[in-house]
């Protein structure tokens, strides 16, 4: 049963709508159907052209990959840039099975995680596990603007150096300040995911250096403080941030 307001105003509204609706004249012969068909035809043509472009791009990418050139994706190969420092890199690449295949995913769990500490159970790296190389993936975590900002690939030697540099660190770097945190500043604007190749698949360490709540290397089961030594091994090219709440207070990175 209609409510009092509906009973009172309903007929007035219906009357107003009906009388206005009847003023709509002369729009009928404008070829609505013809225009609809034209638009559908145009959309389909655009779709076909777009699909063709994708097919061509994929084909070019495939050929590029087959002839062994570097990935056309705008990533940096961290060890290539640092090959002078990384003396064992050349021979080490033999021990790097399928390192190139473990590209940084555009949609990574860190983009939707509660924070850079929230490594999912079973995906974190046990630092005693042998590693054969890794990818460093830098993500923007800003709500609504989540994005892969850059990536770099590193050899097994660098991977071992990173793991060795992290595993000796204390749980917290006492030289870094403790911030008074608000909800707005607690959430990091970006973070880096280190994706290590291991015998059991990809295992990760999440690196937090922004957001006032916490910083360090997170494996899901252990936390290691934020220090410059491991950062310097992989913060290169597109994986090097311009700053961060904790990073700004860290010396030597």
């Amino acid at each position: 049963m209609p409510e009092p307001d509906e009973q009172e105003l309903g007929p007035q509204l219906a009357d107003a709508f009906q009388s206005k609706a009847h003023t709509v004249q002369g729009l009928r012969d404008r070829g609505l159907a013809r225009e609809a068909r034209r638009r559908v035809h145009k959309r389909r043509q655009t779709l076909i052209a777009g699909s063709a472009a994708v097919v061509v791009a994929v084909a070019i990418g495939g050929v590029w990959g087959a002839i062994g050139a570097p990935s056309p994706i705008p990533t940096s190969t961290g060890d290539n840039q640092s090959s002078a420092q990384d003396s064992g890199g050349g021979t080490d690449s033999k021990n790097q099975p399928e390192a190139a295949a473990s590209a940084c995913p555009a949609q990574h769990p860190i983009l939707t995680a509660a924070g850079h500490e929230a490594v999912a159970p079973g995906t974190g790296l046990d630092l005693d596990t042998p590693v054969f190389g890794f990818e460093a993936c830098r993500y923007r975590l800003v709500e609504g603007e989540q994005l892969l900002l850059g990536s770099a690939t590193f050899t097994a030697t660098t991977a071992r150096q990173v793991v060795d540099a992290i595993k000796v660190l204390p749980e917290r770097n006492p030289s870094l300040p403790v911030f008074k945190c608000t909800a707005e500043t607690a959430r990091p604007k970006e973070a880096i995911v280190l994706r290590f190749d291991t015998a059991t698949g990809i295992r990760e360490i999440w690196v937090g250096y922004d957001g006032c709540a916490s910083a360090g290397f997170f494996t899901g089961t252990r936390t290691y403080g934020l220090y410059a030594a491991p950062l310097n091994l992989f913060m290169k090219g597109g994986v090097r941030p311009v700053g961060g709440i904790y990073l700004d207070h860290l010396k030597g990175w």
Partner: protein, 177 residues
């Protein structure tokens, strides 16, 4: 042979669509005009809905009520965020009665004008809910489906709109007196 059959079927489908649009265009445009309150927006919404319908005419034409199906597309087109963005809708000012009550004889027409003008100040979803309720005479459950919301929300849209209209009309009525 198969190609010829497919072509014949496509042609027949095109004719179906054309004749259906010819038959229903008036009703669709009237509905869209009541929904949007603007001739240009109404035409745009109907054209967009018909374009979508044309692309899937096979399915639309098999629906129980193709007209209702296309009207739903019109509503969706009207309340979609990008269309509102395109209109650059500014927050509406306090609703005011723009058509004054007229002497006997023209009073009901003036009231209709006033109600129409007040409806133009309602937010999109409230206006859509009111139009669906009093122009299309849909139930709240049907409105909720069309507006992608809970039945209680649809009811709330209508009642808020009615409260605003009632308040404004009674205020203006008191001033007129």
């Amino acid at each position: 042979m198969e190609a010829a059959l497919a072509e014949a079927e496509a042609q027949s489908s095109a004719i179906d669509f054309e004749s259906w649009v010819t038959e229903k265009a008036d009703a669709l445009l009237r509905f869209a005009y009541v929904l949007t309150g603007d001739h240009q927006l109404a035409e745009d919404a109907v054209q967009d809905a018909l374009t979508t319908a044309c692309a899937r005419w096979g399915r639309v034409s098999q629906a129980d009520d193709p007209e209702a199906y296309v009207k739903r597309m019109v509503v969706n087109a009207h309340i979609s965020w990008w269309r509102r963005f395109r209109r650059r809708e500014a927050p509406a000012a306090e609703p005011t009665r723009t058509a004054a009550a007229a002497p006997d004889g023209t009073a009901s027409r003036a009231d209709a004008e006033a109600v129409w003008a007040l409806c133009a100040t309602l937010p999109d979803k409230q206006r859509a809910a009111v139009v669906l309720r009093f122009y299309e005479e849909l139930s709240y459950a049907e409105i909720a489906v069309l507006l992608h919301c809970a039945e209680a929300t649809a009811r709330s849209h209508v009642h808020r709109a009615l409260a605003v209209l009632k308040n404004t009309l009674s205020k203006e009525g008191a001033e007129d007196a």
